[in-house]
Amino acid sequence: MTRYVVWAASWLFILVMLVTPPALVLTEALKDGVGASLLTLSDPDAQAAIWLTLRVSVVAVTLNTFFGILAAWVLVKFRFPGRQFLQIVVELPLSISPVVSGLVWLLLFGAQGWFGPLLERWNIHIVFAVSGIILATLFVTLPYVVRTVMPVMEVQGRDAEEAAVLAGAGFWQVLWHVTLPGVRGALFSGVLLTTARALGEFGAVSVVSGHIPGETETMPLHIENLYNGYQSVAAFTMAALLALMAMSAVLLRSAPDWLARLQEKKA
């Protein structure tokens, strides 16, 4: 009896709290039909927003993956003074408000910031430009690869790497041929989490972007702009597209498991 009450209450809660929002995004986007909804995506500002989001995400994911692997390697394979401090520092962005993550770049490179006047003289624009958006996204997405890769590297141990070194392998060879294949799954998952977060980042980017339509507006910022301008269909179409991109990145993380299960069934 109690069991049925728990089931009913759980599903009721999930339906009301978690299923209605994505359902609403789709119905609002398709309110005037698929054609009208797709038409809003052909708007030049919408296309510019999509391209900017993709560009920023590719840069952020690439850099944070490369440095994330190195950071995980140094944190797991070596013991040195300040190691725990470094580990805390790497995870800091996770506990910082998105708005604050944007603000710090203004304090560095904004007109009133530390290096603002210097950059002004050299005519370099970081804040309210694409570079600022990239910096804010890098800051926000920095911990994900390190965090997902580290525990698996820890379990992996060092025997294989030490054997490779004795056989004459150099650093990059060990990393590329021995360590990375062993943490492939976690790395894949970390890269996808980074991607999802980079695509959807709103608060941090909002602070440094300057909101210039067609130039420094990413998809989330364009959604805000459209929504506040009462262009509901366009806003929710863009929201549906963004949610689809971010959620497929998150869901794709279990793809290796599905494939393994499929092969098991076949065998």
Partner: protein
């Protein structure tokens, strides 16, 4: 043997190569992308002198915004405790039909970009939305006031509570409950004495994570909040407002308070976890 021992001493206690290179690159990377930006928060407020910092901290609009953020995040995290406990129980112990789908749906708030959750919740609970119009019948309004903020923060914080509690419930030996039952304990006694005790640290962890996330949350809240100064204006939004007024010291003061509170609550969780480490680590 001596050779590997020598290398061991030289390279950070390990015989592996690349210590210097990877450490240098990691330090440069974290230094430029985390420590340098964050150091501005610690230094910038004092650049105008201690007086201006103190007067920035006495701004009544700022105190109201901080109170709104902290109280709403606290209430939302507290509301998520029973809901999260229910879902975690259903997933870990209840053989919930369709548990795989439910499991994926729990993480939805983490996967949904905050701007998307923001406009969606605002429409859903707005006066003419699916759930908002339903609530209006009962005379409840959850949009453009603090109830809306709490609701948005509940949505965002739910996965943290469920994911903190679920592994603990899963790893709790069934034998404990069976033994308690055989010894004559009533169901509520089993719940309070056998289940609640080991789950408590996980609940505190979930509460703390949801709270820390809630005080900083921006995108999913601002659309539903109404953003009236002194009433429904959250602290992160006031930072944005101050920046638009070019009041950088004012914005930094709020940011510093948010950062300290969030780090403090996370340190508190770490302390609680260490204190009750017996049950909270998954086997």
């Amino acid at each position: 043997m001596t050779l590997s021992r020598l290398a061991f001493l030289k390279a950070g206690g390990s015989a592996l190569p690349g210590y210097r290179l990877s450490l240098t690159l990691t330090l440069a990377w974290t230094g430029f992308f985390i420590l340098l930006p964050l150091s501005t928060l610690l230094v910038y407020p004092w650049q105008g002198g201690t007086g201006s910092m103190l007067s920035a901290l006495h701004d009544s609009r700022m105190l109201a915004a901080l109170w709104t953020s902290f109280s709403c995040a606290g209430v939302a995290a507290a509301c998520n405790i029973p809901c999260g406990l229910l879902l975690a129980w259903a997933l870990a112990r209840g053989n919930l039909p369709g548990h795989r789908l439910a499991d994926a749906l729990i993480d939805l708030p983490l996967a949904l970009p905050t701007a998307v959750s923001g406009i969606t919740l605002a429409t859903l609970y707005g006066p003419r939305g699916w759930l908002g119009s339903l609530l209006t019948v009962f005379g409840i309004s959850v949009s453009y006031n603090k109830a809306g903020i709490v609701l948005a923060l509940m949505f965002v914080g739910l996965p943290f509570v469920v994911r903190a509690v679920e592994p603990v419930l899963r790893n709790l030996p069934h034998e404990l409950e069976e033994a308690a039952h055989l010894l004559g304990a009533r169901p509520w006694q089993i719940f309070v004495r056998v289940i609640a005790a080991p789950v408590l640290p996980a609940l505190i962890t979930g509460f703390g994570l949801a709270f820390a996330r809630g005080i900083g949350e921006y995108g999913s809240v601002i659309f539903i909040a109404g953003n009236q100064p002194f009433k429904s204006e959250i602290a992160p939004l006031l930072i944005v407002v101050r920046l638009q007024e070019f009041d950088y010291p004012g914005a930094t003061a709020i940011a510093l308070v948010l950062l300290c509170v969030s780090l403090f609550s996370l340190a508190l969780i770490a302390g609680v976890r260490r204190r009750f480490a017996v049950w909270s680590e998954p086997a």
